[in-house]
Amino acid sequence: MLRKLFKFHGGVKPQTNKTESTTAPIGQVPLPDRLVIPLHQAVGGHPRPLVAPGDKVFKGQRIGGADGNLSSAVHASTSGIVRDVAPALMPHTSGLEALSVIIEPDGDDAWGQLDTINFRSAPPDEVRDYLRDAGVVGLGGAVFPSYAKLKPGKEGRLKTLVINGAECEPFITCDDLLMRERAPEMLKGIIAMRHMLQAEEVLIGIEDNKPEAVAAVQAAIAASGETGIEAVAIPTRYPAGGAKQLIRVLTGIEVPHGRRSTDFGVQCFNVGTAFSIYEALEFGRPLISRVVTVAGNVNAPRNYDVLIGTPMDHLVRLAGPRADTDRYIMGGPMMGVRLPRFDVPVVKATNCILVGSAALFPAPAPEMPCIRCGECAKACPADLAPFEMYWFSRAKNFGKAQEYHLFDCIECGCCSFVCPSHIPLVDYFRFSKSEIWAREREKEAADAARDRFEFKNYRQEREKQEKAEKLAAKAAATREKVAAEGAAPAADAPSAPAAKPKPSVDPAKLALIEAAMEKARQQKAQAAPKNTEVAAPEIKAEMAAIDARREAAGADKPADAPPASGA
C-alpha cells in the first residue's frame, strides 16, 4: 500500500556517508578501566546520587534517583566499586563539569535483582514511574524522559504514534543497525507504547536510503501479526528526522513551536527508545547501554553497543582513528557538538562519535556579507527567514528577531549549510537565544529582588503597626485593671492619671484597642481548650493548678495569650 506522504518546506541533501559504518554488525566493547556516569543525562531535574565512594554496585543498580517533576534515573552500567562521586568533564562544547559517579568495574558484569512490570495490567502511572526509574529517555538525541511523553492527550487516546527511524544526519547509522538487527524487540517496545498511549495507528518513518532497515521492520511487523503498524519509507532529505518534520511528512500535521504534539493527536519516539522500553519492561533492564556509531576519520567505521559512561577514546580506539584526528564530534556533522577532550564519557545522548580532522571538516571560507539571496529561507524546514533573523541578531535587536520567530528555529544547520556567504547563521541564532534567556533571567532576578524589597517594607510597616496595636491594647488593659481594682478605693488614688488619658485617646484607637482585646480573648478561649485537648491528664492537672494559682494571685492578663508551645 502506498501511503500519501507530505512535504516539509526546505531541507538539504548533504552527502550521507552512511554505507561505511553499516557493513559490520553492531559490535561489543571490552569493559573499560573505569566508567564515568554523569548523573544529569536527561532533560529535567538533576538526579540525586544514591551511592557513595567505596560502595559496591551491581549492573543495573540505580545510582541516581529521579528528582522533581521531570527527571530520569541513572544506573550503574556494570558491576564494580564506586570510586568517586565528583564533578567530571561533560561531553559538551562548553567544557563544563557535572556531578558524576565514577565506577571501577569488577569484571563480573553481574546484574542484580531486576523487577519487571506488566504494562497491560499495571496502572499507567505505575508503568510511567517504573520507566522513569529505569532511566528510559529519548535516544534520538533530545534525551527527554520518555515516561513524561507516554501520556495520551486530553481525550485519553491518540490518533498516531510516530516512531522515528529516519536518521537523517550524515554518518550516523545506529538506528539503521538497530532496526536491521533488533526489529522484533523494538516492535515489542512499540506495542507497549501504543498500549500506553492508546494509539490508533503506528507509523514507523524510515528514510528510503535504509532499505534493509525498512525490510527488517516490515518483516517484524508481518511476523508479529499486529495490525495498524506500518513501516513507511520516506524521502531522504535532511532534517526529515526532526520530530516535527517527521510528523509533518507522515501525517501532514504541523505542530507549532511551544505546543504539545499530543494536542494534535500525535506523539513521536525514536526507534532506540522503543528498544530500551522493551528491555525495561520485558527484563527489567534499565537504560545502561546504547548503540553508538563511530564514524568519520577512522579506518573501520562501525556501530557498537556501548555502556553508558565508557570513555569515548576507549571506544574510538576499536575503530582505528587515523593519525591526523584532531577532534571528536558528538552527533552528526549538521547538529553535532565538538567535544572538549577525547576521554569524555558516552552518555544517553551519544548516538554517534564523529571522529574529525581538519581535512575531513575544513574550516569554512571567510564570512562575507549577506546578499539576501534567500538560499537560507529556501532551505529552512521551519519556514523562517534566517537572513532577516541574522540581520536583527547581528544588530542585537532581539525583539525583532523574536518577531521573526527566532524561537521556532530548530538549529538544524540547513541555513549555514547553504549560505553562499559562509555566514554561521545558526551560531547567530544560538547567540540570540541565549542572550534573550540571559536577559529574561536577569529581569526575573530583578523582579524578584524588587518583590523582596517591597515585601520587606510591607512587613516592617505591618510589624510596626502590630507592635503599636499590641502596646495600645496592653496599655488599655492595664488601665482597665487599674480602674477595676481601684474602683472602691477611688478616693485614695490620684484622680488625674485615671481620667487624663481618656479624652486624649481618639475613638478610632479605642475601637482598635477594643478589637485587639476581643481578639486576644478569643485567642485565649480557643487556645485553652486546644492545649488541654492534646495534653496528658497529669499535665492538665498541672495546668489547672497554675490557673488556680494565677486566679488567686489576680495576675491574669488578657493580652497575654498562653504560649502556643503548650505541652
Binding site: E254, P333, M334, M368, D383, P424
Partner: protein, 340 residues
Amino acid sequence: MINSPFVRKSASVQQVMLKVLLALVPGIAAYVWFFGAGILVQLAIASAAALAGEAAMLAIRGKPKAIFLTDLSAIVTAWLIALTFPPIVPWWLTVTGTLLAVVVVKQLYGGLGQNPFNPAMAAFCLMIVAYPALMSQWPAAGQLDFGTQLKLIFGGLRDVDAITGATPLDALRTALRGATNPDSPFHGLRASQLQDGPAFGMMGGKGGEWVALGYLVGGLWLIQQRIITWHIPAAFCGALFVVAGLMWGLHPDGFASPLFHLASGGAMIGAFFILTDPVSGATTARGKLLFAAGAAVLTFVIRAFGAYPDGVAFATLLMNILVPIIDMKTQAPVFGHKKD
C-alpha cells in the same frame, strides 16, 4: 572553536555572481551580432572602472581587498551598466556612471549586500538626468561599424545626432503622440503601421528583440540554476503584458502591443537581471510578486506617458524604496502557523 554544521555546500558569492555573468552572455552575443563589437569595449571600460572604484573604496574603508574584488559583484554591476547605457556613449560617461554606482550607491552605503538601491539603475537614472541627449542616442541595428563606434566612444566623433536615432520605444511613442496631431508628419498613422518601419523587427526593435531573447534564455538558465526564482520575471512580464494589453485592447491605435513592450528596451534584462538583484529587491515570495508587478506598471506608465525613453530604471528605483515595507508585510507564515 567552530560550531555545527561542520559540513557546508560548496557555494559562494563569487559562484553566484559568475553564473549571473554567464547568463548575460547570450544577450551580449546577440548584442554584438546586431549592433557591433562596440559593446564589448563598453563592457571592458565599465569593468575596469568598477574594479578601480571598488579597490579605492575598500582601501579607504579598510576592508580586505582580495576577497571583495574577486567576488565579481562589481563586474555584474559594470556589465549591467554597459548593457543598459547606449553602446556609443563616450567612455567618460560610462566611467562616471560606473563609479557613481560602485562608489556612491554601493560602497558608501556599506558595500556588498548593503545597498538599498540597484547600483546600475541608480547610475542609469543619474546619467539620464545629467546627460539626457547622450543617454538617448541609440544606433539602429547594423547602422554603425566598429570603427565609428570606437570613434564615438573615445571622442573622435562629436556629431552624434546626425547618425543615430532614438530607441524604437521612443520613436513609437513620439509617433503615436503625433498621430493625433494634425500638424505632425505622423498624423493619422496607426501603431501597427508605424511598426512596419525599418527600425522595427517582428515584435520589438530590430535586433533589440534578439538581444531580449538572449536575456530571456540566460534568465531561464538562472532560474534552472536556482540563482533566481520565477517570481520576479513572471510577475514583471505578466503584469507588463496585462497592463499594456489592456491599454492596447482599449485603444489599439494609441498604444503599442504588449508583445512590443516585452521585447523592447530593458524589459527582459530588467525582469531577469535587474529586478532580481537580491540585495535591493524583495525577498519573500509574495513580496517578489508585488515588487515586480509594481515595477511593471510603473515601467508601462513611464514608457507610455513619461518623458524618458524607457521606464525600467526609474521603476526599479521606485520599487527599491518600497522593498523594506513589502518584505515586512509579506512574511510567510512559519511552520505550524499556516492556514491550510
